[in-house]
Symmetry: C2
Subunit: 241 residues, 2 copies
Amino acid sequence: MNVLIVHAHPEPKSFTSAMRDQAVTTLEKQGHAVQVSDLYAMNWNPIASAEDFNNCENPDYLVYALEQRQAVKNKSLASDIQQELDKLLWADLLILNFPIYWFSVPAILKGWLDRVLVSGVCYGGKRFYDQGGLRGKKVLVSLTLGGREHMFGEDAIHGPLEDMLRPLLRGTLAYTGMEVLPPFIAWHVPYISQDARESFLNDFAQRLDNIDQDQALVFPRLDQFDERLYPLQPAVQTNNG
Amino acid sequence: MNVLIVHAHPEPKSFTSAMRDQAVTTLEKQGHAVQVSDLYAMNWNPIASAEDFNNCENPDYLVYALEQRQAVKNKSLASDIQQELDKLLWADLLILNFPIYWFSVPAILKGWLDRVLVSGVCYGGKRFYDQGGLRGKKVLVSLTLGGREHMFGEDAIHGPLEDMLRPLLRGTLAYTGMEVLPPFIAWHVPYISQDARESFLNDFAQRLDNIDQDQALVFPRLDQFDERLYPLQPAVQTNNG
């Protein structure tokens, strides 16, 4: 497999960075080809703007998704975006590795999603969910957070973590057609012992060793909806947020 | 009231920008004091990093939230953060005005949340949800999106929009103690007529004219949980995602 790890943590010595290193080691040992986009180290620009297009179709009025589609056709995407898009299209497995900021991705990673998942390639028109432009690829979210596991779940104070991750897991990754694997979660990281951290790293390595056997999460399919995207039957079933 | 509008759209002539202008006009006409943070115009830096602190407590190992707490005590937050935090603390009502990018906020606005909602002021320890540092303030999310209204809801292809907005409405805004008003949503904006756009602007003005009568959404309260944050009763009720 070709694997792209997109990593976003401001501290190179962080546990989240150790997870990235663990992933590289484990996956390379299995014979996979691995590329890493370390967004902080790359000084990644997260801001979607008119400067993302070498020739704006309409320089007087920016409609970002329209310019993306045009730039894909004309091969005029800004080079930093094109490089990341090339890595993404090369990958069979995408790993997003980050610390939770506000129950979501850090802004620098949000800006990778905003700019790299371009309309015209990753989605567009009726190409989304199971018909998305990135179908055939798998994606794993691996994240660290400060909260404890009992703070998440049906009756827990924050509700299920998967519900908090819904715009990412469903609204972004499943939307573009990728098979979304259950997230790997390292809980309470700033407060745990070195042993507990090593245990998470071992669990992560084991998870990656057996990634082929992972069952993807279930999301809507376009054949459950009519031409105008009204549901053909009520109550689409998913097994998570 | 003092009102802070945080606005994030790359196109100054966009409909989202017209919504910002509508909010300023309507609120000033009512006698409220209004400040606008136009993140694109300000060239806002969305990237949380060690540079956000004039004197890092631990220059060898960045723990972002710890440095925030220390910088609040020492008054050594980076000046761009301090300026936004001052505006936020001045405000009785916060309005976040943006186009949906990937069922979430654009990266530049995520970076405002990541950097400005500092630990030690906005939250910290047991100060979250109804005990959050920003309690007493109200917040309104006003957003535009390309999707149609029938694509959202219980049986709809994307599920309820409030569920997609959960990390923002609950995990961020309610978490810091603010009263979260129901979002104002302008649907299908890139594809609708000028009349339909004006109708949204009128609805928005009317909503803002009567903002005092808005019922806030319901979120968990700390008194529903024990000291370790285990639920005292099962099934915390909320009326949205």
